[in-house]
Amino acid sequence: GCVSQQGAGGNSNSSKDGKDEAGGGDGKIKIAVVPKLIGIPYFNASEKGAIQAGKDLGVEVIYTGPTEADAAQQVKVIEDLISQDVDVIAVAPNDAAALSPVLQKAKDKGIIVMDWDTPADQSLVELSVHQIDDEAYGRHIAKSLIEQMGTEEGEIAILTGGLAAANLNSWIDAAKKELEENYPGIKLVTDKIATDEKQQVAYQKTLDLIKSYPNLKGIMAFSTPAPLGAAQAIQEKGLQDKIAVVGTALPKDSAPFLEDGSLDVAILWEPDKLGYLTVALAKDLVDGKKPENGQNIDGVGEVEVWEDGKTVIMGPPTDFTKDNAKDYDF
């Protein structure tokens, strides 16, 4: 009967005191932004935005995360952040359920918890910052593909970063729903194919796909490296006009493929803005302010806030094409 759910009350008290001291020490608000993993272009771009927001708003931003997209590692990072007495933890969970206990712990210690990029356990977060409405986004990608194919009939395939990636899966499910509901002539040749978040794997698998399904008309590629690999295969085989490729890629990386049409559209949002928005909203939370629908955030623009008062949508996705890709620096 000596086992209890959480540590002795004294524990959390003492650390609360600690926080106050730290807060009084340098006076700066500490906001921790935790991506799924560090060292990939997408999260590097959001880091830039987050750090910029820190500078603009005069708060300290700690941008740190695991080196692999591993839930266990992410939990550790958050635990260590709790020890650092931050004011806000904003996390993009690799696995929402995995983070619940540690986020609960953070909350118990008086830290404000929010999520960004990918939703965490909604009962724990004060705020959930979404770049996009997942459902709308998936449908948008599907529609763009149809548009690029120029026909509502034919075979298509889906590439994904990893079979276990929750947000990719939700987009893919939305995209599939869109196709089923509105485009009965489209046939998905095989289940989504994993590309291990690697361009060369996407490239190889696309080559294999083209051969196995000679009538393939379109490819939807989710995760940032996958569209590049798919486009590369199309480029090499000179199938730009036969097979349409749309996917979720960063404009700078996609530029060479958008140029010759091997990648038709890259659809994403501006991840630096997402980072910026996250920090800006976090600071507001510390200051006791809640976001409002239609609120204008400096450097980001108008945001949409759902009725629950929690979910913030940054805006519609951006289509990166041959014409505008050069205008972006990420």
Partner: protein
């Protein structure tokens, strides 16, 4: 007679203590109760993997499938408990699945005789595939609140339950390895399998038990992880694979087999944990933490090498003066 000397393990212990002192002095917040409990919560799962790996390495083998064994066991537990079976049944089911994985490794390695690195490479991919086809890549949760106590609860409101489980397993492993017939045979088979066979040791039984034991520890790690994270997914703990090899080797386990101690592995795990937590507290970028872990691994072995050389020279000098 036995002399008290600076064995590999003792050096490592000193390094661990030194590191602790260093971190306490130079890293603010390292000694905070918050950080200390954090470390106690983080260490068990990694420690269990490291022990599991160590036991296998002592036989001259390696188990690359260990993290997927754990994940598969976790999947079994999750499925059972989300289907309403009582915790105990779910846990037993998970352990059984883990043991089945261990049996598969053990069978191909011990009975057919294929080299462990190849077999476990194959089973690693196989188990990963199985989890993918069962879970479709999604994570499964739905554990009961009592279950989550295992990974998140405290004993006497002070010490994390999971570290108690870990220490218990560590002591058990140490006793099994040092005091039982099986344990002795593990070292013997690891040193020279031919000679142990010629001494009436049933090598394949010993090896089979080794892979079963390693799978059992992986399953226990899985229980702690799943209850701590309240979920299981295909890559549960996958980052521990090479780390556990590194910890076992840093702990003095010889990769060719025949030597390895629980206490050494324990020190190694503690060193890795302190570096990881300490450097994170200092705000050192994660990649640099990875670099430092690699440096430590190599540096400790260089220190060992220098010490061996120095001992030899000392012996020589002694002999000359005598």
């Amino acid at each position: 007679m036995k002399q008290v000397t600076l064995s590999k393990e003792n050096i490592l212990g000193l390094i661990a203590i030194g590191l602790f002192v260093l971190m306490s002095i130079s890293v603010p917040g390292f000694l905070s109760s918050n950080n200390l409990t954090n470390m106690m919560f983080q260490l068990p799962e990694f420690g269990l993997f490291a022990l599991a790996m160590m036991v296998v390495i002592v036989t001259g083998g390696i188990d690359l499938s260990i993290t997927y064994t754990a994940a598969l066991a976790g999947v079994a537990i999750a499925i059972l408990s989300s289907n309403g079976y009582p915790i105990i049944i779910a846990i037993l089911g998970g352990i059984a699945v883990g043991l089945l994985c261990g049996f598969m490794n053990g069978f191909i390695i011990a009975k057919i005789g294929v080299s462990p690195i190849l077999v476990t490479l194959g089973t690693m991919v196989l188990f990963e595939g199985l989890i993918l086809s069962i879970t479709k890549g999604n994570s499964i949760s739905g554990f009961s609140p009592e279950y989550t106590l295992i990974g998140n609860g405290y004993y006497l409101g002070l010490i994390p339950l999971s570290i108690i489980i870990f220490l218990f397993v560590a002591i058990l492993t140490s006793v099994l390895l040092n005091k039982t017939v099986w344990g002795r045979s593990v070292y013997m088979v690891g040193s020279n399998p031919v000679a142990s066979l010629f001494s009436g040791v049933n090598n394949s039984k010993v090896l089979m038990k080794v892979y079963l034991y390693s799978a059992l520890l992986a399953a226990i790690a899985s229980i702690i992880m799943t209850s701590r994270y309240n979920t299981v997914k295909v890559d549960l703990g996958s980052s521990y694979l090479l780390q556990s090899v590194a910890a076992a080797v840093l702990g003095g386990t010889e990769i060719q087999g025949g030597y390895g101690k629980v206490i050494g592995t324990l020190y190694a795990v503690m060193i890795f944990q302190m570096i990881s937590s300490g450097l994170n507290l200092m705000g050192v970028p994660r990649p640099i933490v990875t670099v430092i872990m690699g440096v430590i691994l190599i540096a400790v072995l260089i220190i060992n090498f220098i010490k061996v050389k120095a001992d030899e020279n000392k012996q020589k000098k002694l002999a000359e003066t005598a």
